[in-house]
């Protein structure tokens, strides 16, 4: 349970809000590479942290993210012409560069200097790991470029997708760190999903339905260890890292690619769920990549021409009561990603956390909220840069290990949780 004012503070990320200022300390993914495919391509509307912007790749290949609306009379520059090193508003011909600077006001004499006085708000845009990233904070605090492992391995080793989710970002993030739902909601998928099945660890998952949790605070966020019984008194551990503010990784299964998410606020009632899959040491197999494209694993099938899932609230997520009765799916919704998204959206755009009844297995969520609130306060009151900005915090992996009973997972798996180039993930 959160107090009403805490729930407000932690869910609102628009300009001028405390949590918004926190998010403005980080590089965030906003577009897939395929959305700005060539120099001079059509501009793309982007809403992120409640700011309406437009992403531009100009005719010279320069990238920028600028205010969506023309400084003249507020026309959306989505209608703009991307030509000769700038984006021209089709209404009266004003032209802007990717840095937001006004390059031309055709109606004004050049000597007037009017043009130099106009500049749209702009943010940096960079491409990395199959996505475009932006940083919406103060230029003097711009951190080093993101170093997440999925974004730094060779392209043939990774796959990344995004989908829109119709609820606040925190609901989605909380699903990512709530290991205890996996034994329920996704139990039907462990044996059937091509990107999950066959792993040695699956039998422990299915054999011990009452995992015990250990939550450990670390530099960048949290490690959440779920412990299940394995053979000879040993424990099977699945370790989920959360790095502030919105990065989570799923523990691996066998030699399947490793996956995880970014949960990026669009506005206070919508977010983008980014889903990545990568293998630290080998190229993805053709059939793996195809399964991801087809919406298996943590990816989804789209409504054609959009990043909206095919199963969505307007069609009741293609609920299949027969599949639910048979146990093929536990909730009747197909696919791991939509099982999560459907339930999180059903909580409402911003769930009322004053109404919830948390139990001790929710400690991962309790601690994540506490850390977010604490970091936002430290930033607002003392200007302290939050955890996760430092690229050292980003060099983390999830892991699945079998350990003797007397070992703390955080120590025993310390190496497994580090990014080690050329070394495969630690998995069972």
């Amino acid at each position: 349970m959160l107090r009403r004012e805490q729930n407000e503070l932690i869910t609102r990320t628009g300009p001028g809000t405390q949590m918004g200022d926190l998010f403005r300390c980080y590089w965030l993914p906003i577009l897939l590479s395929e959305e700005l495919p060539f120099d001079g391509c059509p501009p793309v509307r982007v809403k992120v942290l409640s700011e309406r912007l437009i992403a531009v790749r100009d005719s010279e290949g320069r990238l920028g993210l600028i205010d969506e609306f023309c400084a003249h009379r507020g026309v959306s520059l989505w209608f703009g012409r991307n030509e000769d090193g700038g984006l021209r508003c089709p209404y009266h011909g004003w032209k802007f560069g990717v840095d937001g600077a006004c390059q031309e006001i055709p109606s004004e004499p050049e000597e007037s200097g009017m043009c130099q006085k106009i500049r749209l708000k702009s943010y940096p845009l960079i491409e990395r790991g199959g996505a475009f990233w932006t940083y919406l904070g103060k230029p003097e605090f711009q951190p080093e470029l993101p170093e997440w492992e999925f974004a730094t391995v060779p392209a043939e080793q990774s796959f990344i997708s995004k989908r829109f989710q119709d609820c606040n970002w925190l609901q989605a993030l909380e699903g990512g760190i709530d290991s205890s739902h996996v034994s329920w909601l996704h139990r039907g998928n462990l044996a059937s999903d091509p990107l999950f099945k066959g792993a040695g660890g699956n039998k422990y998952n299915l054999g011990d339905m009452k995992p015990v949790f250990e939550v450990v605070e670390n530099e960048g966020g949290l490690l959440i260890g779920a412990r299940r019984n394995a053979e000879e008194g040993k424990y099977y551990w699945r370790i989920t890292p959360w790095i502030m503010p919105c990065f989570t990784m799923v523990p691996p299964r066998g030699d399947h690619p490793v996956h995880g998410h970014f949960w990026v606020p669009v506005d206070d009632e919508n977010c983008t769920a980014w889903s990545f899959d990568y293998h630290p040491v080998r190229a993805l197999r053709q059939e793996e990549r195809q399964a991801m494209i087809d919406g298996f694993g943590i990816h989804v099938q789209y409504t054609p021409g959009t990043y909206r899932p095919l199963a969505n609230k307007d069609n009741d997520y293609l609920m299949d009561r027969e599949a639910q009765r048979r146990g093929d799916t536990y909730s009747g919704v197909a696919g791991i990603a939509m099982q999560d998204a459907s339930l999180q959206e059903s909580m409402g755009p911003i769930v009322d956390r004053t109404m919830e009844n948390l139990v001790s297995t929710d400690n991962g969520i309790i601690m994540a909220r506490q850390r977010l609130l604490r970091a936002a306060k430290a930033l607002a009151e003392k200007g302290i840069r939050p955890p996760g900005v430092n690229v050292a915090h980003q060099k983390i992996r999830s892991a699945a290990v079998v350990l003797p009973p007397d070992q703390a997972f955080k120590d025993a798996a310390a190496e497994a949780l580090k990014v080690r180039p050329g070394v495969r993930q630690t998995s069972v």
Partner: protein, 162 residues
């Protein structure tokens, strides 16, 4: 499209129709401090939240022979406390010997009361110290939390409505 059902709470407007009637009663958490430093944490947590009804400090110092005597004197009170609690929260500082927690945790388990163990460790606490405290608690706790600051205790209890 299944639009026959009366509502789907996916807009702020629809969500505003959520029933506001109370759907739970308060929890009763029994707090146990497993070392002197944690006693201070427990005392503060109790003082901060007047509705918290129970708190028992249980310090254990293997070198202190009076501890056994103290334990005998307090064991019954501790167990009575635990037995009527919804949740027992044991608090220890990393490095402390948590054997006493293991003992009482066993008693809690027999009585069907879940135990959450909260270990307070600084980022630079040596791994060996942390493991020493965690090991005896692992078999009896259904949730083990390693937090960097004592303020987590208050936040956790509030979040759990305890």
């Amino acid at each position: 499209m299944a639009l026959s059902q009366s509502t789907r709470a996916t807009s702020a407007y629809e969500a505003s129709f959520r029933s506001r009637y109370a759907q739970s009663t308060g929890r009763w958490a029994s707090l146990m401090a497993l070392d002197p430093a944690s006693e201070i944490v427990v005392a503060r947590a109790v003082a901060g939240l007047p509705e918290r009804r129970r708190a028992v400090a249980l310090s254990y110092d293997a070198a202190d022979e009076t501890w056994i005597a103290q334990l005998r004197a307090r064991a019954q009170a501790l167990l009575d406390d635990a037995a009527c609690a919804d949740l027992v929260v044991m608090i220890a500082t990393a490095g402390a010997d948590a054997q006493a927690g293991a003992l009482f945790g066993e008693a809690c388990r027999v009585r069907g009361v879940p135990v959450t163990a909260l270990v307070i460790a600084a980022l630079d606490t040596p791994d060996a110290d942390l493991s020493r405290t965690l090991a005896p608690l692992r078999p009896i706790a259904s949730m083990l939390v390693v937090a960097q600051g004592a303020d987590y205790v208050d936040d956790m209890l509030h979040a759990l409505r305890a």
